[in-house]
Symmetry: C2
Subunit: 454 residues, 2 copies
């Protein structure tokens, strides 16, 4: 039942492509789901993939095109003339998918492709969708939906559905509108089937529904669909007129993308890469963070350089540099990640920033106490060096406290400024915490080692 991509399969297919064995390839693909074909495309060369696309043609090729990674799609479409893009691909797509594809084209090509679309209504729908912000409800909705007037009967409604339904792949709900197009409610197909055909729609529809205006950010759309377990969410304009619908499969992609973006940020990867990518994209994705890390390391060397005489003079001081730096980094990442995760979960939040920082202070205080006590006893027992014992403990205490508050405050501030708070889980905070940790350590060390009471 499930398709399993194997090395043998790919080799066999490549041989067939080389032999231009059209019939065999077509019969190979006839029962495959577009998502499976997309996986095959991923391991073929651009030339081989192009051959397959043009061979499949029409609906199937368009579906496959929608399943492959954006970058590959862009590369492929760039090589095609506008009329081929319009007539062999765009015309087979739903308006939301078509708009995504057109959006991705160069500006001058966009107009040319729109002009080549033969179905005027479809071209108009796509042009409408292009006007919305790509990451808003308007930008991700599809215009294809089934709507019925509240004054109709069930019988008229069923007739109407059979006409409208041709354009719509799956009907989950029928939307009920009034004479001027304002969304009044929804009607499930189940209800339609179970109700007498003479009944009036206005008496049976469900008016207690969720909808969003076109300018709702896509993260909020995803949050609403997830929270209320919806399969589709209607989108309305600011007069409340029905404009489109967003389906749950689009939302899954958004949720995945958001989660991946946050994950990449905290693990120091720039851009969406996978192991199957080539060497250069994989390398490029890793260099920026390491560059910040290298710069941080050089700054750290500068800080230590100022105290170099202390480092060589005061016995043992150098040994705990990695401990202080690592703890500062770890505590900072933990704090900022908790903030980012809380924001991403999208739960309502009635705590003030001051309350959050106060709570974080308590957490930081306990953590700092625990770890500075532990390291105090470790050094007290194993080292005969009270200056060092106090230096490490006191600076670890200060560093944990500071890194916690810094790690909490910065993402909250970024979020307030409408900047992605996940930035704060990345290299900048870690590196800043590392350096500040070293400064604290050196200052505290200089203080204790210059005291004469020991």
């Amino acid at each position: 039942m499930h398709f399993e991509l194997t090395k043998e399969y790919v080799e066999m297919l490549q041989q067939l492509i080389e032999q231009k064995a059209e019939k065999e390839i077509r019969s190979l693909f006839v029962d495959l789901h577009p998502a499976d074909i997309a996986e095959i495309m991923d391991v073929l060369s651009l030339e081989e993939a192009k051959y397959i696309y043009l061979l499949l043609g029409g609906e199937k090729a368009s579906d496959v095109l929608l399943e492959i990674p954006e970058a590959d799609r862009r590369r492929f479409l760039r090589a095609l003339p506008p009329e081929v893009i319009a007539r062999q691909f765009i015309e087979y797509m739903d308006s939301d998918d078509a708009a995504d594809i057109v959006q991705d084209l160069d500006d001058d090509l966009q107009q040319e492709v729109l002009n080549e679309i033969e179905d005027v209504e479809q071209a108009g729908d796509i042009a409408d969708l292009l006007d919305y912000d790509e990451e808003s409800a308007g930008g991700i909705m599809a215009k294809e939906l089934v709507s019925v007037n509240e004054n109709w009967t069930v019988a008229k409604c069923l007739r109407e559905i059979s006409q409208q339904a041709e354009d719509v792949d799956e009907i989950y709900y029928v939307y009920v509108i009034d004479d001027v197009g304002i969304l009044k409610g929804i009607l499930s197909l189940k209800k339609l089937i179970l109700t007498h055909t003479n009944a009036k729609i206005s008496n049976i529809y469900n008016s207690d529904i969720k909808s969003v205006p076109t300018d709702t950010p896509q993260e909020e759309v995803a949050h609403i669909i997830d929270k209320y377990d919806l399969v589709a969410l209607p989108v309305v304009d600011h007069q409340g007129r029905l404009k489109g619908r967003i389906t749950v499969d689009d939302v899954i992609d958004i949720i995945r993308e958001e989660a991946e973006k946050d994950y990449q940020m905290v693990s120091g990867i720039t851009g969406d890469v996978e192991m199957t990518d080539r060497v250069w994209p994989l390398t490029r994705a890793r260099i920026p963070w390491l560059m910040v890390g290298l710069f941080g390391g050089i700054m750290g060397a500068q800080v230590l350089g100022i105290y170099e005489t202390a480092l060589t003079k005061f016995q043992g001081l150098a040994l705990f540099i990695p401990l202080i730096a690592a703890m500062a980094g770890n505590v900072g990442v933990q704090s900022s990640s908790i903030v980012v995760q809380t924001i991403a979960a999208g739960g309502k939040d009635i705590q003030s920033t001051m309350n959050k920082l106060l709570k974080e202070s308590s957490v930081a205080l306990i953590t700092a106490l625990v770890f500075s006590t532990l390291i105090f006893f470790y050094n007290f027992i194993t080292k005969d060096n009270m200056q060092l014992t106090f230096t490490v403990s006191v600076s670890l205490f200060i560093v944990i406290l500071f890194a916690s508050l810094f790690g909490t405050f910065v993402p909250l501030l970024l979020n307030r400024l409408k900047i992605d708070p996940a930035l704060a889980t990345g290299p900048f905070i870690t590196t800043t915490n590392d350096i500040l940790g070293l400064i604290v350590y050196m200052l505290v060390g200089s203080f204790f080692f210059n005291l004469t009471v020991f």
Copy 2:
């Protein structure tokens, strides 16, 4: 349209609870979605929440209970007698939700609750579901679905649906089975509406469908629903008999949970915490990773202790300790995160482990060359110390190479051993890389500083 939880609202509600103003509270909640009420419950005390649950009762209270966090639910249910759990909550739930709730109860309570359920069929369904692994398709499916026999006509089918549909909230597809219950295909309601009532089901259903056996891991279920953009996926036993269905809303939760687990691992947080949690859970979630970090720091101090004379004798050697340790940690996290993300994305993968390690070697080689060259020139220009310049460059080169391969190999190995590869993004790898980085640095340093050619 959307409910907005404010501090004022909560205070007003708490006052009403104190006054036991039942009527006002009921009217406050009558139009609220269970998911919104769950958010309110989250900020109320256990006592206040309990009062609301018992006031709401029945369907609504059950729906709210399903929306609150697991830990809160467990705490709440533990305080109730089995007959209340069964009759005021379980009986209003779908079989999959009911099974989740019962699963969570203590072993002896499970049986008691099942015995208290009055609907024998429902009790049987729940008991069936409890037999499946919680994280398999069988464990997350619901038994409620609408199925029709392939030999029926559309008319009989519609009649049958109106009978079966009472138990099922939403019908997305009707499942077509044969006389012995084997799943043959699906039928969309759209098709049913658009087809003549005399038509035979066997002539109109779609046999090209995805289904999974009951023992499919939930991650794979999520992957299939996501990949093929499904709204519901039927679950079959090993004879192919229809057993239940999994809906997309359950899958969104699984995707979110998986992403959160990986995110927590890489950011060093143990367990699912949010900023709104109390001080102690927040602290407890952070201590384990920091403990490993502290231990790593102590090991690092041991390593440096061995070379303490070198550190005090060789000028500048101590300054680059943070740089080496940070780069080792960062490179390791990057490598393992890419592996984890690739596995989580679940794409088919025809590369062998050897191929992956070879490719990672190329990436590591380029990265190592870039950064060791950069630091070479930095030190060459700013420091008049060739031993140090060579030591830092050469050890950075080795450390990047090693940390990359280690960071790639370990998660691949864990995955092969069926252990969650995300473990490798956590503290163990980072700490190990830190320590190994220091050892390399000290060995290379001893070598160059003892050379006499400079």
